[in-house]
Symmetry: C2
Subunit: 235 residues, 2 copies
């Protein structure tokens, strides 16, 4: 069951369960045979749009933004990936370059898995194969929802929705009724909502006024998730 039992959070998030959860031990070991682990500081880049892939990445712990940069340098965040998610497989599977860039949003522990091991495991493991088909198909629906969101909803609605989604990702040791702390720069929030930083600040101001969020420096505390769901207003 999703937030308050009513909001369909999986419409907006790739991850229902990790692709690798409960993968048969043999498959898992094959995949991880030559992995390397790295601790990346906040803001470090895993891969860049347009580059050719050498492997895939597994988020052992942390958060990573997937984004595109336009000709003027403006960033558009496509998705925020969390602990347990796999990154960079689209480029390998499409036999093309990375469609987007990826950078850490906080200090993160990342495993790098060489392309060869990924492709070999994919050949061996029909479970991994099927999970990928399922995940990619689900991703389609998430991105289709995002397109509709950007094409048809106001900045206020978009920001409200992204805060709802982020809240799930920033939950730790959550108790019902507890405020969730979202620690993300206004710039990233703007890029996620497809607007300018100033507008994020202003809308966030409205939300404070309405008793929906509190802020302390850059940190945002979601105090009234239900009002936020009302505002997001996306079916």
């Amino acid at each position: 069951m999703s937030i308050q039992g009513i909001f369909p959070i999986d419409k907006w998030s790739f991850k229902s369960e990790s692709i690798l959860t409960d993968l048969p031990a043999a498959d898992f070991e094959l995949l991880m045979a030559h992995k390397s682990e790295h601790v990346l500081k906040k803001g470090e880049i895993l891969f860049r749009e347009g580059a050719y892939p050498a492997g895939i990445y597994y988020i052992i712990e942390g958060k990573v933004k997937k984004y595109k940069t336009d000709k003027t340098g403006r960033e558009q965040i496509i998705y925020v990936a969390n602990t347990g998610e796999l990154l960079g497989y689209h480029a390998i599977l499409s036999q093309y370059h990375y469609p987007d860039s990826a950078a850490t949003l906080e200090e993160s522990t990342i495993a790098f898995i060489p392309k060869e091991d990924f492709l070999l495991t994919l050949q061996q493991s029909s479970i991994l194969n099927n999970r990928l088909l399922k995940t990619l198909s689900h991703e389609f629906s998430v991105l289709a929802n995002s397109i509709t969101l950007f094409a048809q909803n106001s900045v206020r609605e978009r920001l409200a929705l992204q805060l709802i989604v982020l809240r799930e990702k920033y939950k730790v040791n959550f108790e019902p009724g507890m405020a969730v702390e979202i620690n993300m720069s206004r710039d990233d929030l703007a890029s996620l909502a497809g607007t300018a930083r100033e507008n994020v600040v202003r809308v966030l101001g409205e939300f404070k006024e309405a008793g929906i969020v509190e802020t302390k420096g850059r940190k945002i505390f979601i105090t009234d998730i239900n009002k936020l769901i009302e505002l997001a207003n996306t079916r």
Copy 2:
């Protein structure tokens, strides 16, 4: 090579080659074993968002819009599929309902393939399997591009881009220098560009003024593709 040798049309289109092109005969026959063919009139619905899938669809001939409808009834077209493309597999692979609706944009001949045959062929055919992984990964990059388009580009740029993409889809017996005829309602064009019908008419007016398009009733003739590419201005 893409338009004028420079515009990366595959950034905006799922189809490079059909998933089914040159599929080994045995696999193809297994897949098509119980297919049924149907001629659908313009505007007929293949499937509806939220419904559970009974099979997949193959466009033998024609054009189909994939779209989502919001709570107010407003349509957002996600993608225009053309002859040779497969539809409806996301729902089956994600083991969930259809993420979008599909309706014909013109009279079309559609083959319906039962779910069981699709899944069986998928099990048997590693080629089909790999093609689907590749196609889905490519779709990811196309949708990510769309998100950026809607989040960061003006109505003029979005419409210019969609016209470029549509031009490829509406090409028949094309000779260099020839104007391509796009036959689509202003409402659908608006839904594709994420704006209101009136704005499409106005921007189209500008394009006519600039000698980029001509119109005759609802039909649009693209006469200067290069200017359109300049206007679309998307890297």
